[in-house]
């Protein structure tokens, strides 16, 4: 009976977020790669993964030439995690070194010098060393040892493609290193003066020649349209596409528009000359329009 409970709990227990928070202090500059679906034929056979039986999946990797180790691939994990045993066996920590603390065997941070998966090697992956109870429970139930979790600090370096049907992963490197991982709680949480909302300016590279205002939200509407066009610059891309003052913005390309920040996001990144479909609401009719944004500060 106890076993049954354990299995169920490991099923509903999501593995992510083992440590309260990981903040990034220095955002890395983004590398530009083409935004198109990957050509799997060109990428080769990829890297196999296996389902655990609890709807998680894991990969087998070599760490510092040792292993293989089984790591749960977890997009929801902000960090990469190794068990104390795996950390010792992979020489990530010295045998007989620091003793794990009483709380879930938390032994602090380490760095895996080399992580090999298939023919590829990732270097200097920051890891947390920690015996996650869900991992231990899964290992016991499934009768198979799991060694940790592969999290953000790993996949932040790759363009990753996941295919559950083929049970394969493809990795294409996009960055050399990962952000500096702060294992402490974020400054803003510990800093009592941080009660002011953090203000983030959403960058925008392109313009279409409009001004908008946020409409008051109609509480009765399920998904309220909120961005109304108040000005259209003559001869701008919006004017050329036939957009009128009073139109309500619904979507821009794949982006939903619920705020002016969303519009900035939608106008960021595309190369000038890229045609985009804009959906507006005019006199309660949906209209689809095409326009080409222009690059202006």
């Amino acid at each position: 009976m106890k076993l049954q409970m354990k299995l169920k709990y490991s099923l509903i227990f999501t593995l992510f977020l083992t440590v309260p928070a990981v903040a990034q202090t220095q955002p890395m500059p983004m590398v530009k790669t083409a935004m198109i679906a990957p050509d799997l034929a060109k990428l080769g056979p990829g890297f196999p993964f296996e389902m655990t039986g609890t709807n998680h999946f894991y990969v087998e990797v070599k760490l510092n030439g040792e292993g293989p180790f089984r790591l749960i691939f977890d997009l929801g994990a902000p960090i990469t995690l190794l068990s104390n045993k795996a950390a010792r066996d992979s020489k990530t920590i010295k045998p007989g070194g620091k003793r794990p603390s009483f709380l879930m065997g938390m032994s602090g941070e380490g760095t895996v010098k080399e992580m090999q998966f298939g023919d590829s090697t990732a270097k200097d992956i920051p890891v947390m060393i920690f015996d996650h109870p869900a991992i231990s429970a899964m290992s016991e139930i499934l009768g198979k040892r799991f060694d940790g979790i592969l999290g953000y600090t790993f996949f932040a370096r790759y363009r990753t493609t996941i295919d559950y049907q083929k049970k394969r992963l493809w990795f294409e490197p996009v960055r050399e290193t990962t952000e500096n991982v702060v294992t402490a709680l974020p400054d803003r949480m510990l800093n009592p003066s941080a009660k002011v909302p953090t203000r983030v300016v959403v960058p925008r590279t392109n313009t279409i020649g409009i001004k908008v205002k946020m409409e008051p939200v109609d509480a009765a509407a399920a998904v309220p349209p909120v961005l109304k066009i108040t000005e259209v610059r003559p001869d701008g891309p919006a004017a050329r596409a036939g957009i009128q003052v009073g139109d309500v913005l619904i979507s821009f390309g794949p982006h939903w528009l619920f705020s002016s920040a969303d519009l900035a996001d939608a106008l960021h990144g595309d190369e000038p000359g890229t045609k985009v479909e804009l959906v507006v609401l005019r006199k309660s009719l949906t209209k689809k329009l095409e326009l080409i944004p222009e690059r202006l500060y």
Partner: protein, 296 residues
């Protein structure tokens, strides 16, 4: 005995057993979106979580964490209430009518679990991610797509596969909290503990996102010089006295760098922010100040 038990449990949970039994779907009707690719915009939270927006049963938007570490789709009780979903307390899963994700993926009649995983409770009460998280999107949704995630882009690519993971039965009996392993109980306590901590630390407000301000001009880098090449009439740049062909030699009080550097400075300025400029025009240096406006 133990293995048999585990396999049995996995079986009725509708999960695949790792070796070879492919989880081919039983759903007879092919999804009309099969084969289609979508660009799915995402937000990377301050806690390094990939969040996608969703409209559930026509309500929303809700913020869902893309989580291969979650076995299914979990929706917080508050969000479920907003979406008009009432969970049957006797059943583990609830079926929801429609899940629409930003960018186009659309699923009908999928099973969800209405629950408040401790991670969401804790993070939300402290406001750590910067946006309110409404749920976790795991295997039962993700497995239907081939997903490409490029951290250097703000969009993922989701391609609908001709594949549906096996549905789980609805009548999974509930587990009593006291029956779970002690360590998991301890982990589950973290949520309320963080809520308690929030009383002292104070909940952090959600991040306020404001759009970059509008100046209405373009700059081109020519032979390591920044030259104004476009200027919109009546825009903030025109009002500041900037002219076409001006060379920008200083901005924000420092010597001009590359166009990339200039762009990075501009990316931090919202409407109302000031941009002090020194330009060279016909050999003469001139100081200007632009006040950025709202505009797109």
């Amino acid at each position: 005995m133990r293995l048999k038990h585990a396999i049995y449990l996995m079986g009725w949970m509708g999960l695949t057993i790792s070796m070879g039994v492919p989880a081919f779907g039983e759903s007879p009707a092919k999804d009309p979106q099969t084969g289609q690719s979508f660009e799915v915009p995402y937000i990377l939270t301050q806690t390094n979580h990939f969040v996608v927006r969703a409209i559930i049963n026509g309500k929303g938007p809700f913020h869902l964490v893309v989580d291969t570490g979650a076995p299914g789709l979990f929706l917080a009780t508050e969000a479920a209430k907003k979406a008009g979903i009432t969970a049957d307390p006797k059943k583990f899963f609830t079926t929801m009518d429609e899940l629409k994700l930003e960018g186009g993926p659309n699923l009908k009649k999928i099973k969800i679990r209405v629950e408040d995983p401790f991670q969401l409770v804790g993070m939300n009460s402290l406001g750590l991610p910067g946006v309110k998280l409404d749920g976790l999107m795991g295997f039962s949704v993700l497995a239907r797509y081939r997903i490409t995630l490029d951290p250097s882009h703000k969009k993922m690519i989701w391609t609908r596969l001709d594949f549906n993971p096996k549905e789980s039965p609805e009548d999974v009996p509930m587990v009593k909290k006291e029956d779970m392993p002690a360590e998991l109980q301890a982990m589950n306590l973290l949520g309320p503990a963080m809520k308690f901590a929030a009383m002292f630390v104070g909940k952090q407000p959600e991040t306020k996102r404001v759009p970059q301000g509008y100046g209405g001009f373009a700059v081109t880098e020519k032979e390591k010089k920044l030259i104004v090449t476009q200027l919109m009439a009546d825009s903030a740049s025109a009002k500041s006295g900037l002219l076409l062909q001006d060379e920008i030699i200083k901005y924000d009080g420092k010597a001009a760098g590359s166009i990339t550097d200039f762009t990075q400075i501009m990316e931090k300025k919202s409407a109302g922010a000031r941009l002090p400029l020194t330009v060279r025009r016909a050999g003469v240096e001139k100081e200007l100040e632009m006040m950025l406006e709202e505009g797109f």
